[in-house]
């Protein structure tokens, strides 16, 4: 029964996104054309990947606010490596980005696991530290497109079957995440410890360790996105992806991921990301200043949280009623 409601919620969200696209295309017909749609998808790929990773963290009743800073730091590191030694193949840089991101995520997870510090405090702290390190590393300077190698910039733009590599990558990661969430023990453990940590202990699951893994995953994906971000926008500086962590949380919450843990799925997170992506891409099309973006995501988070709370509350009440009629 609930499954169908959750599914319905995703249908509802999909319907809203479609309606939005159609409404916008009335104003500006070019919006609906395939190249533009693909561009929107391409623009949203990074958010989609990160939203999925953030979802795992939120499922375990944690939150990762350091993803934006993680992107900036890994992005800066790979950009500097590239400008210093352009002959280094891109694949190596991608691996470095993944590894560095993993380490940064592991630091968050370590504090949450070993010292049981509230994740919000840890990631608020590391958010500042990581971003500060970007400044220290580059001494406050920018790395611009002309300092980056051809292949570094070209990699995400490589065209495969008419679709950019970044999009393919995003889809691949999302597919991997789906498999993880659905078909791996670790994925199910994310749900289990968020649902009932006490019961999880009975099943022999170490709650702290699973949280640690969620942070590692989130960090790793953020690292990957760090490379994509820098090469796609062809610039690396201190403030890139500032506030992006909020977008990832927003995407999750819009997609029905419960901030109290255990509820949510990849489909929802992706639709949440697409929702924000379409809004962001549509704003210039319908002549609204991009400065609206921030408050729109804020408002949408609040609406989504209220909506989630409402639907969660309802299920609570019906259980009570059932209990009563039996007794």
């Amino acid at each position: 029964m609930l499954n169908s409601i959750l599914k319905k919620r995703e249908y509802l969200l999909a319907a809203i996104i479609l309606t939005m696209i159609i409404a916008i295309s009335f104003r500006s017909p070019s919006f609906l054309q395939l190249p533009n749609m693909l561009a929107t998808l391409n623009d949203t790929s990074i958010l989609m990947m990160l939203a999925c990773a953030q979802m795992f963290v939120i499922l375990t009743r944690c939150i990762d606010l350091s993803v934006g800073a993680n992107i900036a730091l890994t992005g800066m590191v790979v950009a500097m490596l590239n400008s210093a030694s352009p002959e280094l193949p891109v694949v190596v840089l991608v691996v470095i980005a993944l590894g560095l991101g993993l380490i940064l995520g592991a630091i968050n997870g370590f504090f949450v696991w070993k010292f049981d510090i509230p994740p919000i405090v840890v990631t608020l702290g590391t958010m500042a530290i990581y971003r500060g390190l970007v400044f220290v590393l580059a001494d406050g300077s920018w790395i611009n497109a002309h300092q980056m190698s051809e292949s570094f910039l070209g990699f995400p733009r490589a065209n495969i079957f008419g679709v950019q590599l970044l999009t393919w990558c995003g889809l691949l990661v999302v597919a991997g995440m789906y498999a993880l969430s659905r078909y791996s023990r670790l994925g199910r453990q994310f749900y289990a410890i968020g649902d009932n940590p006490n019961a999880a202990v009975y099943m022999g699951i170490s709650v702290g360790k699973v949280k640690f893994k969620a942070f590692c995953l989130s960090g790793m994906i953020a690292g990957l996105c760090g490379y994509f971000w820098v090469s796609r926008y062809a610039v690396a500086y201190v403030d890139i992806a500032a506030g992006f962590e909020l977008q990832t949380v927003a995407a999750c919450v819009i997609g029905g991921v419960s901030i109290a843990g255990a509820i949510g799925n990849i489909g929802g997170a992706i639709l949440g990301a697409l929702f924000l992506g379409v809004v962001n891409n549509a704003l210039p099309v319908i002549d609204i200043s991009p400065f609206w973006q921030m408050s729109i995501s804020g408002t949408v988070i609040i609406l989504a949280v209220v909506f989630n709370a409402q639907s969660e509350r309802k299920t609570g009440r019906t259980i009570l009623k059932l209990k009563g009629t039996e007794a």
Binding site: F115, L246, S295
Partner: protein
């Protein structure tokens, strides 16, 4: 509370009010530790920079922490009650923007200040409504409103600036009282005393502690938990408003990026001041000391030409360290006890 209670159990009326506290017990207080660290940092600063002890410099140093400390007091109360408010910096941005708009429309200082304070109160009330009445998590609510409030500021200002503040408005952030100390300093002292009284001397303060320690028990004891929480968010909104007035007046201009990232420093101050992030304990004195400490450190680093963004590394490390260190010492203590 790590103080060991004596095994002397007395009966009924013979029970004394307070336990004799040992000298060690007094010294082991977090506040004592903070005083020592403040003295140490002060000393190091005088060595590191010859300009530090200059009276004007010291007076300048106060700007570094006063505005943040004012918010930190209110946020301390929110955190003691078991919630959190991350939207304070965004609240400053929005209040400052509204003040800028009112000033640009040609109104005079009282109206500007009134508009700023009203805006901040409205923001606080919005948070309070969502947390206390609707019953949402304060973390996610204030993350959202953090984006919403600053977002509105961006909508209004975009990449422009408000700077048509009347001259009289500068008094708050740049004025002096009796030629001796700054208006900001006066605000700081008055507000610190206010919050000290509120938390430690009033029924309201007691209720905040009870709620932070045990919400259910508070409710069963007839404390109106929702109302107290709502008031706390109002209060932290208002404190942001006061900070917005001081900051805007000091800078003389408003950009939407004003006070960016302050929520981190404010939370760090509160936690450094000995307030438990899980709620239930902490003192205003601790927050005052922590704010002075952070002010001195940032000012000292500033004199040494360390850029602001690097200081945030320091802040971030400090935030994590103050929470981790007590836990490590506890672990070591319990370990050594076991081996004994």
């Amino acid at each position: 509370m790590s103080i060991a209670f004596s095994n002397v159990r007395r009966r009924g009326a013979e029970i004394p009010n307070k336990l004799e506290m040992t000298m060690m017990g007094r010294l082991a207080r977090w506040e004592t530790l903070l005083v020592c660290v403040v003295a140490l940092v002060f000393f190091l600063n005088t060595i590191a920079s010859p300009y530090f002890l200059d009276v004007w410099n010291l007076s300048d140093a106060t700007y570094n922490f006063i505005e943040k400390a004012i918010i930190a007091f209110a946020v301390a109360l929110v955190i003691i009650s078991g919630e959190i408010d991350l939207s304070v910096a965004a609240n400053i941005a929005l209040s400052s923007t509204i003040m800028g708009a009112v000033a640009t429309a040609g109104y005079d200082t009282p109206i500007i200040v009134g508009a700023g304070l009203l805006t901040s109160l409205a923001c606080g009330a919005f948070n309070g409504f969502l947390v206390a009445k609707v019953g949402l998590h304060s973390i996610i609510v204030t993350i959202a409103t953090m984006s919403l409030f600053r977002g509105i500021s961006y909508i209004i200002l975009g990449d422009t600036v408000y700077k048509n503040y009347p001259d009289s408005f500068a008094w708050f952030g740049q004025g002096y009282l009796f030629d001796a100390f700054t208006v900001e300093m006066a605000f700081f002292i008055v507000i610190a005393v206010f919050f000290w009284m509120l938390l430690h001397k009033t029924v309201f303060g007691r209720q905040v502690y009870v709620i932070g320690n045990n919400k259910t028990c508070a409710a069963f004891s007839g404390i109106k938990v929702q109302r107290v929480k709502f008031s706390l968010f109002l209060l932290s909104g208002l404190a942001s408003g006061v900070a917005a007035v001081l900051l805007t007046s000091r800078l003389g201009s408003t950009r939407p990026s004003i006070a960016l990232g302050w929520e981190l420093e404010v939370v760090t101050m509160v936690v450094l001041g000995g307030v438990s992030i899980l709620g239930g304990s902490g003192t205003i004195l601790g927050v005052i000391l922590a704010s002075v400490l952070m002010g001195l450190v940032t000012f000292g680093l500033g004199l040494l030409n360390v850029p602001g963004i690097v200081m945030t590394i320091f802040t971030g490390c400090l935030l994590i360290a103050v929470i981790v260190l007590p836990r490590i010492t506890k672990l070591i203590m319990s370990h050594s006890k076991k081996t004994k």
